[in-house]
């Protein structure tokens, strides 16, 4: 009896203690100070760059104990934009991203390895086309501080390389071996809540 009364209170207290140490940020996608971009080689001749225009996410940041840092991002796959309507139509089709069946991609981090000097290795899982793969990003803090409008912001940039063949797109093979490595660059600015 006693335990059932005390335990929830204890859990709540612990949660509050953690919450106090770590700051909670929402990625500023309203003011669009965040970008999810990719580039892939076109036949090995040049880089083709694109981005996802709609996504949302949040993260926690713990100055004392950065291992607690967590990042969560959800991407609307239909918002792919490579500045070429017919190419985007192909990429959204069932030949590639199949956005009808798989409208969202999600990234959930589980480990933040602080490397010092504002650098870190962020490990997590990316689920895209219903396929979940471990992903590690090299992250660095770009800056943090008070913004001119009374808020507090903190921003990071991160890079990683994904492998096209991991995501089993029906016609990925037609892009050739030069398109196997997809370079990801993301920049996120969080507004502290």
């Amino acid at each position: 009896m006693m335990l059932t009364k005390i335990l929830p209170a204890f859990v709540l207290f612990a949660a509050l203690a953690v919450a106090q140490a770590s700051e909670y940020y929402v990625i500023d996608t309203k003011g669009m100070h965040a970008f999810v971009t990719f580039k892939v080689k076109h036949l090995g001749f040049s880089w083709m760059e694109g981005r996802f225009d709609r996504f949302s996410g949040d993260f926690t940041y713990d100055q004392e104990n950065p291992a607690n840092n967590r990042v969560r991002v959800e991407i609307d796959m239909a918002s792919i934009d490579t500045n070429h309507a017919e190419r985007d139509k192909h990429l959204r089709s069932e030949r590639f991203f199949d956005v009808q069946r798989f409208p969202k991609a999600t990234f959930l981090s589980h480990t933040w390895k602080d490397l010092g000097g504002g650098r870190a290795r962020l490990e997590g899982h990316l689920t895209m086309r219903g396929i979940t793969r471990p992903v590690a990003l090299d992250v660095h803090e770009v800056g943090a501080g008070k913004d001119p409008w009374g808020g507090f912001r903190r921003g990071f940039a991160g890079t990683t390389v994904l492998h096209l063949s991991d995501y089993k797109m029906k016609e990925a093979f037609v892009l050739g071996p030069a398109a196997e490595d997809i370079r990801i660059w993301v920049s996120i600015e969080g507004v502290r809540q």
């Binding site: 239909a78 934009d81 500045n83 070429h84 309507a85 017919e86 985007d88 139509k89 959204r92 016609e171 037609v174 892009l175 050739g176």
Partner: protein
Amino acid sequence: MHWRNDPTHYGLVSILLHWLMAALIVGLFALGKYMVGLDYSHPWYLVAPDLHRGLGVVLALLWVSRLIWRLANPRPEILGRPWERRLALWVQRVFYVLIPALALSGYLITTAQGQPLWVFGWGRIPATLYGIAHQEDIAGRVHEWLADGLIALAGLHALAALKHHFIDHDSSLRRMLRPGQPPPRSDS
């Protein structure tokens, strides 16, 4: 030479426009179905859509000329029973609506993100309506439906022409093949 239509016969201009557009419509349909299935590394992957766009613009221009020509000329009386005449007239009208709708939906695919539509190497049509969410996907689906509808209707139109020629033994088909007075038929 009979250039213009009269109340019973088609003139040369109408006949040429009819067959040129018929060939373009069938050709564009086949090319369209063919090109969307092409592999990225296929030699025709870039050429086929360019050709489709260019010929599509040619078809749209022919449609404009044909509309003007039709309004400026008498329309030869449609042959057949009253319901056949009514149906034929409506099929013609739907053709007149479907063709520009196809041209417009095709244009909205290519120009969905503000890029112009190139007409062969000759020139380009700038984008006017673009940036609508999923514009290229919606316009693409509409374009395909309209194309399927147009071809089905063209098939019906062709069957009807053959029926008039072989069953009714009237001059519906012959007068679309030869301008002016058709030679009298001996077997009817």
